[in-house]
Amino acid sequence: MMQALQDSLVATAQGLPVTLAIWLAAVALGMAGGFLVGALRFFAPWPLALPLAMAVEAVRGTPFLVQCFLLYFGGPFIGIDLAPVTAGLLALSLYGAAYFSEVFRAGFLAVPPGQLEVARMLGLSRPQAVLRIMLPVMALGVLPSLANLCVILIKETAVLSIITVPELTFRVQGVGTSTFAFAETLLVLALVYWALSELTAWGARTAERRIARALAA
């Protein structure tokens, strides 16, 4: 049993960096893509906005696991042959982008039109009004949802173990399969994720407060 625990800790040390790297990359890519999609859906004419809306609904209405299968197993048939890590990162980024885009779009919608009108009345150009007024006002409003999404994405990385991405769940589960010490290894795994979630939630709340103060000051 001690051996199994020791092995799971080693596996944790190996898998955790992969989990964190994929998570951080997916948050960065997803947030950038989500901002683009959210802004296009808000500002672009409908022939562009409508297909984006449908794509976002499709991603949000289907399980992440099925999206992973589609990309990883289905991709090669249309010439997208990706290694597990690449496929996993891409899938998680697209998944995150769909949800991030909804947060940003809601943020744009929540900016009171009066604030933009005042800016235009005072002679700011439209790009100036968007850049100087709309974005900062929106940023304040969307912070909590962004933080929340970041925490959710870290749990979603566990699903990537199913397409053999050598992240935390994959590594620790491997120890379980080879030693048959499922109870110990999986318990370690659960505790690591639990700590990770609480830690990122705490970090996200702190960051959110800092950014909010910086924006409001």
């Binding site: 566990a158 769940t169 379980g176 795994l189 639990w194």
Partner: protein, 198 residues
Amino acid sequence: MMAATWATIWISALGIAIGFSLGVPIAVASARGKTWAAIYISFFRGVPLLVQLLLAYYALPFLGIDLPAIVAAVGTVGLCCAAYMGEILRGGFALVPKGGVEAARLLGLSPQQILLRIQLPIAVQAMRPAIINEAILIVKASSLISVVGILELTRSAQALASSTFEPLPAYALCGAIYLVINVALSMLARGKSMGRPA
């Protein structure tokens, strides 16, 4: 795949029903600041559902609890759903006007009657979009139980993909069916939005 679709629907429905039933006492306990409720919610929301499922399926037998796979799977989905439902309902209970509860007390309703007949219906009404969101999340999350070998929609798509060697149409069809179920569900919610992912 038709049968597997029904399996996904009833497994989700059962998980949601368990989650809702357990969510009520969890919401009450968490509103009263009970530590166990806070720990319960933190654990089931902090650990990936996949890991919870693996725990229930592989680890419980080692502790002498040997459940049929389907019971372990549906139970885990339900327990996890209960944590989210607990949070949603706690928010809903906070929206119930104090006066309505006072009126009920004065008319002689017992605390339990007040909870079930007054507070719960008002809370559910107020939180309907969030509850339907949660239901959609559970339908999507139910795909994970394919991992412990239960034949539902995702598992049947896997089987189809490996027998036809054509994963693309198999998983696309599978995704489309999930989408139809969830669009139908979200039409139940007036302010349709799928909220946070699972």
